[in-house]
């Protein structure tokens, strides 16, 4: 170790990260707070205040919250079931539920478009069964569904990992001390998985809040999320200053959500040590 220390191999890495992570973030700040001539202005930020943009921001927040709650409620039982499995095939079965994480999300959303269309697969099947058809494509419902589908594996993984880390004897100890299954879950198992739950929430909420692919595939052209608004500023309108200003607002929301999560993480820590 002593001999390795002298080598400053992280040089290229630090230069790279500074050039392509740090400086670009400052570039957003620069463009966001200047006008076309380079003079300082708050106007780009205030652009967020238009009714259409506020509506998009609000819808993004609501849909990403709904998606996060659904993912949590669906993923936790699944992670519990996976943790309880025994036998040689366990690793394989777990990976089945994780692999979609690495499958192109654009294409997976495209698949849902195919399923949900007016004449899509689901409606054809419903038609064959003489059931009422489902017209949710191009509505916020379809977007929420797409978000849940797309980000579910990102919730399963951290919760499963944190459940894996619990010593089975800790659970046994709770039973041994008289707790029933319900008490054991809420007093021991769940508190021990809070770090996993929190990282799962972050991994679902932030991408859902900022997506523009899911809304443009499943929401049609009429429903815009904040991601679409910003994306259009850059690729269609070409106003980088306003786009940057709006991005800064979005970043504030990302930072707030992370701070809240950190707070809960800490609070959970403190509460459990205090009680």
């Amino acid at each position: 170790m002593r001999k390795l220390r002298k080598v400053w191999l992280d040089g290229p890495y630090l230069v790279w990260m500074a050039a392509f992570i740090i400086i670009p973030l400052f570039t957003i700040v620069y463009y966001g707070l200047t006008d076309k001539s380079g003079a300082f202005t708050w106007n780009n930020i205030l652009e967020m205040g238009t009714p259409a943009r506020m509506k998009a921001l609000f819808l993004s927040l609501v849909l990403s919250l709904i998606a996060t709650v659904f993912c949590l409620v669906m993923a936790y039982p699944l992670a519990l079931i996976l943790t309880g499995m025994k036998g040689g095939a366990t690793a394989f079965i777990v990976s089945i539920f994780i692999i979609p994480m690495w499958m192109n999300s654009l294409l997976r959303i495209l698949a849902w478009q195919t399923l949900l269309e007016r004449n899509g697969v689901i409606n054809q099947i419903l038609g064959m069964l003489n059931l009422p058809k489902l017209y949710i494509i191009n509505t916020p419902y379809a977007i929420a569904l797409g978000m849940i589908y797309d980000f579910l594996p990102f919730m399963i993984l951290p919760i499963y990992n944190s459940l894996q880390k619990i010593d089975p004897n800790v659970v046994n100890a709770a039973y041994d001390l008289g707790a029933n299954k319900f008490q054991t879950f809420w007093k021991v198992i769940f508190p021990l998985t809070i770090p996993g739950v929190i990282s799962g929430i972050t991994m679902v909420f932030v991408p859902a809040l900022t997506t523009f692919v899911i809304s443009s595939f499943l929401g049609g052209s009429k429903i815009l999320l904040i991601g679409n608004v910003i994306e259009q500023q850059f690729t269609q309108v070409g106003d980088w200053n306003v786009g940057s200003g709006l991005s800064l607002v979005l970043m504030v929301f990302i930072l707030i959500s992370m701070a809240v999560m950190q707070h809960y993480d800490k609070a959970a820590d403190e509460e459990t040590t205090r009680l």
Binding site: D167, N169, V170, N172, A173, D176, L177, V188, L192, T273
Partner: protein
């Protein structure tokens, strides 16, 4: 003197245990298999009230499974667990009047020490005053007063162990189950904790059932030791019984160091080892029957023969007389190894092609020619196992 073990009789030997009145727990015909591997096979054992009982054996002998069946974490495939006259075989762990101290402590890392100890009491909806008082009492009992607000992660292994014990005993269980609780501690701490546990048991006046693979731990603390191997009980008895009168080669080999040799029982009180006839005290093995012979290394006595002396010399005769005074039979051998162990010397003596382990406070240099003898009382004769299989079982696990 030597007899086949009868429950209740050999317990009267040696250290007088605490008041052991009635049978508190009765394990009847317990059989348990995992994935087709039988871990316990028709296992029968009873545990008396206020007893410090140790399940001792190598890993895989079924001792932990027995404890888990008692705690309710496993259900036996067959057989019954009777606790205080009630069948609790399939009663859930949270309904049992016994508490467990787990391997590696299994503390709740997201709670403070006080919260850990209060866990069972809060579940039982005790008043906060009662809980506070209990926490104080328990921490005092385990010598960790003032540790209420610490987190388990900030404690040493020994301290975590004490908290795990405190957490279990505040619930006033009738029985405390301890699953290798000292396994993760270093040697010195382990020895301290052994005394600590004995003190705790005396103060609490409850039954301890202790699982370990460490024979020294078992000998130090227990009222009763149950030696197990391959899902079967090998011997039940007081530490003295187990050490001095091992019932078979497995127990003799597992408990302490010993010299385990084949012998032939010529007649009552006479055994032949490597062609030499030794007096012994055992009877009832029949005539000219092959037997296992165990001699503890500290029971072998050495008598040096000065170098170059022939068998007629007075020095040799003196040694021979001393050896014969002990036992008419004796071996002639050579010291082949010598290690100083602090309290004593550990030596190996080669005699009749067998390397005998000898412990003595007297030193004999390597190369010294010696006569080696043993008090008849200290020769332990055991029946050969019935079949070759059983013998293989006993030896391969060592």
């Amino acid at each position: 003197m030597k007899k086949i073990y009868l429950p209740g009789i050999s317990r009267l030997h040696g250290k007088e245990p605490c008041i052991m009145s009635n049978r508190l727990i009765d394990l009847q015909h317990i059989t348990k298999a995992f994935d087709g591997t039988v871990v316990l096979d028709d296992f029968n054992l009873y545990i008396r009230e206020n007893e410090f009982l140790t399940l001792l054996g190598p890993s895989g002998c079924g001792k932990t499974t027995t404890l888990r069946i008692l705690g309710g974490f496993e259900t036996p495939d067959q057989g019954r667990v009777i606790f205080d006259g009630q069948d609790i075989t399939s009663l859930a762990p949270n309904k049992r009047q016994l508490n467990t101290v787990f391997q590696k402590y299994a503390l709740f890392t997201h709670m403070s020490v006080a919260e850990n100890i209060a866990f069972g009491l809060r579940i039982r909806k005790k008043s906060e005053d009662y809980i506070r008082e209990k926490i104080r009492y328990a921490l005092k009992l385990v010598n960790l007063e003032g540790y209420e607000e610490r987190t388990p992660d900030s404690l040493s292994g020994g301290q975590q162990q004490r908290i795990a014990i405190a957490r279990a005993i505040v619930n006033e269980p009738k029985v405390l189950l301890l699953d290798e609780p000292l396994g993760a501690l270093d040697l010195k701490l382990r020895q301290d904790m052994q005394y600590e546990l004995i003190r705790l048991k005396d103060e609490l006046g409850i039954t301890f059932i202790y699982v370990t693979h460490d024979q020294e731990e078992a000998l130090t603390m227990s009222d009763t030791i149950v030696v197990m191997n391959q899902g079967y009980i090998q011997q039940v008895g007081t530490p003295e019984d187990i050490y001095n009168e091992p019932q078979n080669a497995f127990v003799a080999d597992f408990i302490g160091d010993s010299n385990l040799i084949d012998g032939t029982m010529i007649q009552d009180q006479l055994v032949e080892i490597f062609g030499v006839k030794f007096a012994c005290v055992d009877t009832g093995f029949g005539v000219n029957k092959p037997v296992d012979v165990v001699i503890r290394p500290e029971d072998l006595e050495l008598f040096a023969i000065p170098d170059g002396e022939d068998t007629q010399s007075s020095a040799y005769q003196e040694a021979k007389q001393a050896a014969e005074r002990l036992n008419p039979g004796y071996f002639e051998g050579t010291v082949s190894h010598l290690i100083f162990k602090g309290m004593h010397y550990e030596m190996e003596v080669t005699a009749h092609g067998f390397e005998w382990l000898v412990l003595s406070t007297r030193m004999f240099q390597v190369g010294t020619k010696v006569l080696m003898s043993v008090d008849p009382f200290n020769i332990q004769i055991m029946k050969k196992p019935e079949s070759e299989d059983e013998k293989a079982v006993g030896l391969e696990t060592m």
